[in-house]
Symmetry: C2
Subunit: 202 residues, 2 copies
Amino acid sequence: MRGLLIVFSGPSGVGKGTVRKEIFDTPNHEFEYSVSATTRSPREGEVDGVDYHFISKEEFEQMIEKGEMLEYAEYVGNYYGTPLKYVNETLDSGKDVFLEIEVKGAEQVKEKAPDGVFIFLTPPDLTELRKRITDRGTDAEDVINERMKTAREEIDMMALYDYAVVNDEIKLASDRVKNIIKSEHFRVDRVMKSYVENLLEK
Amino acid sequence: MRGLLIVFSGPSGVGKGTVRKEIFDTPNHEFEYSVSATTRSPREGEVDGVDYHFISKEEFEQMIEKGEMLEYAEYVGNYYGTPLKYVNETLDSGKDVFLEIEVKGAEQVKEKAPDGVFIFLTPPDLTELRKRITDRGTDAEDVINERMKTAREEIDMMALYDYAVVNDEIKLASDRVKNIIKSEHFRVDRVMKSYVENLLEK
């Protein structure tokens, strides 16, 4: 049975990387991390194939052309993307694949693989919004308006996802994500499919 | 924000009651158990309002007539059912309600409350079906056919539910159910709704 594609994203600055590291640093996870490819130079301490696959701009553009990127984006003059081959091979082997990518990338994956599990990490102040707005009665109107605007943008982004998890505390957020992935394995569609596959294999 | 309605069911004999007791015996659950009503006499040690609401046949039939039962069924001459009032009041107070009911009852709830979380408990031999069928190569054809028939019936039942959990070990099954309930709180529809409610309350 094919593994689950897990897409973990959220607004920039929310702490996706930190939560992802916490998830993979604890032993009780059973999914593989998909290492992104990038054209930027390795920073000190970064290891090729662990932190990123460091490839040239030409290689990257060839991969885009051949449809070998599940998603990609350009950011301050460099490409970042997810090579499709590793993802497909791992899913086919029955293992779950975990992507930690930007929201623009998640939108691309949603189009190509709508049956993935899409998890959105939200900043803690989103859930606290009303409290914050009312508590800080002294805030200038433009500050409040700015906050409401951000809130609306987050809501719009969120609608694409299956789950939204608050990053109030790294350990808690990490546990929530791991729980969600576990529970998704018990989705009835999935259980029935594996069950029917078993019967057919007889 | 309204609580989640959790419907826990499965084929008779699968161990629903045992798993439910395990779930409620451990402290880390945050949902209320909906006590069923019945017209049968209390057995020794059973407490009214804890194990069941013991009511008369006349009372039960009046409640059916007034639409005060979320679901009900007759079984060896006695009625069993879920009073709607407690369920609605608890959900309205923001708490989750947990129903442990028969599959026929779950079908009735699905019609009335399709947005509930429906969890199906399956016997462990279902997932082991292929193994069992092939391992026991000596089984008579009618035994195998009987097993295949049961399997097909289970699949048909399961399709109504959101999740299917195997009762291979009581503690494991109980943890899976609790995880599913936790994760359902992070469903994006739910988070967005609570978020919009917060904004509107401002």
